[in-house]
């Protein structure tokens, strides 16, 4: 019983923690479906290691076989380096699986939740401070 209760508490806490940073990021709640996630397998086209936002551009094929140009929004390099990203994290041609909150407009854009690299490593798309705490700052 206690175990079940603990699981419940963890689930609720996880849900709440998910919501805080999304509402804090500048414009995120306006532009993206913050309570929806999509997962896209694709090939990296460009990696923007830039201030104050990083961007990951990748191509994917949809269910009809059409090529779709995707893009994902991330935080600034300082935040993202705390989460394990670096200037050389991606190069064109890398195979990735990106999961994120899709654009409300329907465009193939997302704010990144996490990405799985070709070597199987998973990186959180949320900024992390050097001490391991989540960084919910806006910029």
């Amino acid at each position: 019983m206690k175990f079940k209760f603990a699981i419940y508490v963890i689930l609720v806490a996880s849900f709440l923690m998910l919501g805080i940073p999304l509402s804090a990021h500048h414009g995120t709640g306006v532009a993206y479906e913050v309570d929806k996630l999509v997962t896209i397998k694709g090939t990296v086209v460009d990696w923007l290691w830039s201030n104050p936002h990083c961007g990951l551009l990748f191509d994917a094929t949809d269910e009809k076989g059409n090529l779709v140009h995707w893009g994902a929004e991330l935080g600034n390099p300082h935040q993202m380096s705390g989460a394990g990203f670096g200037k050389d994290s991606f190069k064109p041609g890398d195979k990735i699986t990106a999961t994120g909150h899709p654009a409300k407009s329907g465009a193939p854009r997302m704010t990144l939740d996490h990405v799985v690299l070709a070597d199987g490593r998973m990186l959180s798309g949320k900024g992390v401070k050097g001490n391991g705490e989540h960084d919910d700052s806006s910029y």
Binding site: A24, H26, A31, L48, N51, G55, H78, S81, G132
Partner: protein, 285 residues
């Protein structure tokens, strides 16, 4: 001969400085963002609190999730609760023209016109609270320099008794003079460029804005700022801001602000690649 001597001495002196123990120590970044490691946080927690002097407000200060907007009480980005004074007709016109990406009038960043979206200067007072980032106060006998982490930019608060300039050219960070009234530093500033917004909600101001800030330092670790905004062209009466509390980042004198630039060329690439397509429903880059 003298030049030759100098050319030998200067590199030697520079080498001595650079090899001093101070440069071998940890960089204690501010704890709001970035890479303050566990090691640095532990060292900061163990650092001695500085001696208290109510007139010494030097150091790196951080609000830790303070108000992001003029006035109190406030909420987070998407649910602010503030009560500004009524806008004048001119103020209303400016406010309606502003399209922020926070608050009740938020639009997608790609469809908005927040100066932040193109890395324009935030100006003052917006840079004080817009991004929950720390600032540093450096005190000299004649002026205080306030360095903001966002944009790594600064303003001067002149404390040498000079008067504010008459009819100055407007500046992003205005013109500020300060004096002590007992243990309170009173800072009056004018000459602001009206292209800046007051906050992330897009509240406007005119070039005629007069800010009065009162800095109070009740103990070694705390700095309080209260602000009154008087701008008759924009608001029908003065806007009394709430008390903002900032916390000293330890170790005092060793904490380093992040170089948090908004780089126009990089943000333009990001906007073209991600933000604009997301907001405008464009399916490819």
């Amino acid at each position: 001969m003298r030049n030759r001597l100098l050319s030998m001495v200067i590199p030697f002196a520079a080498g001595l400085v650079l090899s001093s123990p101070a440069f071998a120590q940890v960089y204690y970044g501010p704890s709001s963002q970035g890479k303050r490691t566990k090691e640095a946080e532990a060292a900061a927690a163990a650092a001695p609190k500085p001696a208290y002097d109510p007139h010494d407000i030097s150091g790196v200060w951080w609000g830790r999730g303070n108000s992001f907007f003029m006035g109190k009480p406030v909420g987070r980005y998407d649910s602010p609760t503030i009560s500004p004074p009524p806008l004048t007709a001119w103020g209303e016109e400016q406010f309606k023209a502003h399209k922020p990406s926070s608050g009740p009038h938020a639009v997608e960043p790609a469809l908005g016109n927040d100066p932040l979206g193109h890395c324009d200067p935030l100006g003052y007072p917006r840079n004080l609270w817009a991004n929950d980032r720390p600032f540093e106060m450096i005190q000299t006998p004649g002026k205080i320099v306030q360095i903001f982490e966002w944009g790594h930019t600064s303003r001067e608060i002149w404390t040498d008794g000079r008067k504010p300039p008459k009819d100055p050219d407007p500046r992003w960070y205005g013109w500020a003079v300060g004096h002590w009234e007992g243990d309170t530093l009173v800072v009056d500033s004018t000459g602001y460029d009206e292209r800046t917004w007051l906050d992330n909600l897009g509240y406007p101001h005119s070039e005629g804005m007069h800010l009065q800030e009162r800095f109070h330092h009740p103990d070694a670790m705390t700095l309080e700022i209260t602000m009154t905004l008087d701008d008759p062209k924009t608001y029908v009466k003065p806007w009394m801001g709430g008390k903002e509390t900032y916390h000293l980042q330890l170790p005092k004198g060793a904490t380093v602000l992040e170089e948090a630039y908004c780089v126009p060329s990089e943000e333009e690439s990001f906007n073209q690649g991600v933000r604009d397509p997301a907001g405008k429903g464009i399916s490819s880059k």
